[in-house]
């Protein structure tokens, strides 16, 4: 009954959907926060306290003079839960902005991962060959191991991990997702 555009920002909850759907969606949120003590605990406490999912969370200060941090959060839930998550995040006092990158337009998402792969002979050669196909870099090597660095979407990293497992994957570290909107405009 209202004619208000879809999509929501931290200032508007007028993202009207006619019904509460129970289809789960995956959303990537960019949350700009004041980098004060405890701010991350507030965000994480909100998710655990209200039973929301966190699939990935990364945080770092992006403005050292203004002490602002950007949290990139990947979460999943029904459209109503996603709206709640955004509204609840927006209520946290040191949170300045909440952006739903999934709704606001096309985005690029990247994650960095380090893989330690241990092996000899054929396995070692095969690991190196696959790393090349995936554009992974060798950042450390010994006669019996490699550490690969790979950047890509979470899916790509999953795929690389599947391939490395039989070839001697012994340790894996992932950063979680960082995301930006595509195009010339700064949305956040």
């Amino acid at each position: 009954m209202l004619n208000i555009k879809e999509g929501s920002t931290s200032h508007s909850a007028y993202n009207l959907r006619s019904t509460f759907s129970d289809v789960e969606e995956r959303h990537t949120l960019a949350v700009i926060v004041e980098n004060e003590p405890g701010v991350l605990a507030r965000v994480i406490g909100l998710f655990s306290g209200r039973g929301y999912n966190i699939e990935s969370l990364t945080v770092a200060e992006i403005d050292h003079t203004g002490h602002m941090s950007r949290i990139t959060l990947v979460t999943s839930g029904t459209p109503q839960v996603i709206e709640q998550i955004k509204a609840q995040l927006g209520r946290i006092v040191p949170v300045h902005e909440v952006h739903d990158l999934t709704v606001e337009g096309p985005t690029v998402e990247r994650e960095l991962a380090l893989f330690k792969v241990r092996g000899e002979g054929e396995h070692r050669v095969e690991a190196l060959r696959l790393a090349d196909i995936f554009r992974a870099n060798v950042v450390d090597s010994t006669l019996e191991s490699f550490v690969f660095e790979i950047t890509g979407t979470p899916d790509k990293i999953d795929a690389f991990a599947d391939l490395m497992r039989p070839l001697g994957l012994t340790e894996l570290a992932r950063t979680g997702v960082a995301a930006l909107s595509r195009g010339p405009e700064a949305r956040v």
């Binding site: 009954m1 209202l2 508007s12 909850a13 605990a41 109503q80 946290i92 006092v93």
Partner: protein
């Protein structure tokens, strides 16, 4: 917030402890509730050396927080409490959570071990900001005296701006001793500023929906009270302009007068039949400053099935949280109602008179079921009767009511009438037994000449009975009206109705002699058990200029009706035996 210290550099030099007192004065604080301890001694030393701020020594920190809540709710100003580190702070947790769920603005200052000892498990160290993070709107640990002033002013701002709530400022002892600069009220950062104006288009849409509504109802809540007296005034104008019936949550009682023509009474789990049936049968639901709590909605999928829902709330997270809303309006109630009234009268809009008359007739039919009827007795005092008499004997006075939690609380909401906002203080969201007595202390501090009554259950009252010391010390003539059923009555009721009458642990055994208890504290005690004596006894309580414990022995097995059992719909109410309506038959009465 962000370190805007340039004004702090030009500010006055003083110790952190002095800064605390100065900031409170600059905020216009006249009363604080608190309890001293090692980590707040410098602040107490400063309090000792001034006369502008009264400090009320409670007997337990939980009491301090509830008293601050009572002060806040009865004045509309933030309440202030001071507690020491460790156990002082942990004792404040229940009160903070209570204030969070009921959106009550309070500022709690806690002492902390010195900064250089934080993290060492020092004596009376607790991670206070960690513990209170989920039960405050925001909290701060102040590590530099230069930051203290601006943080305190920010704390008052956050507590009161937007949807109000409790905040806590944790102040290490060395920060209280050290000297820093204080720049006054202006030093706070101004970034936190929730929007108060509602969206014009949405307000227009609501006005249009009001024109065509055939079965409208206003459903109002604590947000109207929190928005200030202007909101209640505008609400009354809106109801008068439209002639729409109005109901309210437990939290919102008094925003619209109980004597008002359109008043349906409270809705919800123990709400009135006509209010709940109107919610179920309406075609336009206008929610103002309420949040579709489960005590209100009953079964969600059967909630108000045929209505367009409009929702006015200052907190965007309240919209579409529980119930899908068709017309969401984010804004402060007073601001939105002002614009709505304008949109209403500017358009020369008219309601559908004929449909409204039919709707009123239907409501009249529901009302005639007389859902609050009860079987009175001349042998034993019925709790409902006790409240009817209390109402009759006090309603024309300058009266404030607080309550504890349980059956007595629901009966008080049903049988007492509230004509104005800020006159009714009860723990709604958290349902905190032990709230009412300390809250009455806070209310009486704010309104020394008014009649303050705490309608209590004996079990709840015992939870914070230590505050008798406070009441006596400060000569606060609070009336503790205890409906003593020697039972955890509400628990007993659920056990009777839902757990096969297995009354597990719901007796109040070994109760004190309340009259002697009052006397032991130096107060007056009154015992009443005969309905014939009730009026005289109440008058005796009212005439006594001092705190009174009124031990009203009531029927032990009375149940509180109407009742929507958990998980049932509004039209599946259980009714008292005397009422003419029956739960199941009620379904047929719904308009489609």
């Amino acid at each position: 917030m962000t370190g805007q210290t340039q004004s702090a550099q030009t500010g006055r030099q003083m110790t952190g402890a002095k800064m605390v007192v100065q900031a409170l004065k600059d905020q216009g604080v006249d009363t604080v509730f608190g309890y001293p301890g090692g980590a707040v001694l410098p602040i107490y030393d400063e309090l000792f050396q001034q006369n502008d701020i009264r400090h009320v020594l409670v007997r337990h920190e939980q009491g301090a927080i509830h008293a601050a809540e009572g002060y806040a709710r009865s004045t509309g100003k933030p309440g202030v409490a001071i507690v020491t580190s460790g156990p002082g702070a942990t004792n404040a947790v229940t009160g903070l959570t209570d204030a969070l769920l009921d959106s009550i603005p309070i500022v709690v200052l806690s002492g902390q071990v010195p900064t250089f000892m934080i993290g060492s498990d020092a004596f009376q160290e607790a991670d206070t900001v960690g513990i209170t993070r989920p039960c405050t709107k925001h909290n701060w640990l102040v590590k530099e005296t230069d930051r203290l002033g601006q943080t305190l002013h920010e704390a008052f701002h956050v507590a009161t701006a937007g949807r109000p709530g409790p905040v806590l400022v944790d102040i290490p002892k060395d920060v209280q001793f050290a000297t820093g600069s204080y720049g006054g009220k202006e030093t706070r950062s101004t970034r936190y500023a929730p929007a108060v104006k509602g969206d014009r288009a949405a307000i227009e849409a609501l006005a249009r929906a009001m024109e065509t509504a055939k079965r409208p109802v206003f459903y109002t809540g604590g947000g109207v009270i929190n928005s200030g007296p202007e909101a209640s005034k505008l609400l009354r104008e809106l109801v008068a302009a439209t002639g729409f019936p109005i109901t309210s949550t437990l939290m919102g009682l008094g925003a619209y007068p109980a004597s008002g023509e359109q008043w349906l009474g409270m809705l919800g789990m123990h709400g009135l039949y006509e209010a709940n049936m109107a919610m179920h049968g309406c075609d336009l639901l206008i929610c103002i400053g309420a949040r579709f709590d489960d005590r209100i909605t009953g079964r969600i999928d059967a909630f108000s099935p045929n209505s367009i829902r409009a929702h006015i709330d200052i907190d965007p997270s309240s919209l579409n949280k529980v119930i899908r809303t068709d017309i969401p309006i984010i804004g402060d109630v007073a601001h939105v109602l002002k614009d709505l009234l304008e949109a209403w009268s500017a358009g020369g809009r008219k309601t559908d008179r004929e449909a409204l008359a039919q709707w009123q007739a239907q409501i009249g039919e529901w009302r005639s079921k007389d859902c609050l009827a009860f079987r009175n007795s001349d042998k034993v005092i019925k709790p409902q009767f006790a409240l009817q008499r209390l109402e009759a004997l006090t309603k024309d006075r300058d009266r404030y009511i607080t309550t504890e939690v349980g059956q007595h609380q629901m009966w008080a909401a049903q049988y007492l009438g509230f004509e104005d906002p800020n006159r009714w203080m009860t723990s709604g969201g958290l349902g905190t037994m032990g709230y009412g007595f300390p809250a009455s202390v806070g209310v009486q501090m704010a309104h020394p000449d008014s009649l303050v009554i705490n309608v209590a259950g004996e079990a709840s009252w015992l939870m914070n009975m230590q505050e008798m010391g406070t009441a006596v010390q400060y000569r606060l003539p609070v009336k503790q009206f205890i409906l003593n059923n020697e039972r955890l009555g509400m628990v007993r009721q659920w056990q009777e109705l839902l757990h096969g009458e297995r009354y597990s642990q719901s007796w109040s055994e070994a109760l004190p002699d309340f009259v002697k208890l009052a006397e032991a504290f130096g107060a007056k005690g009154i015992l009443c058990k005969d309905p014939a004596d009730l009026d005289d006894a109440i008058m005796e309580m009212l005439d006594h200029d001092g705190p009174v414990i009124f031990d009203c022995l009531v029927e032990k097995h009375e149940n509180c009706f109407p009742m929507i059992p958990s998980g049932k719909a509004h039209n599946e109410m259980l009714m008292g035996e005397v009422s003419t309506a029956h739960a199941i038959e009620a379904g047929g009465a719904v308009l489609v």
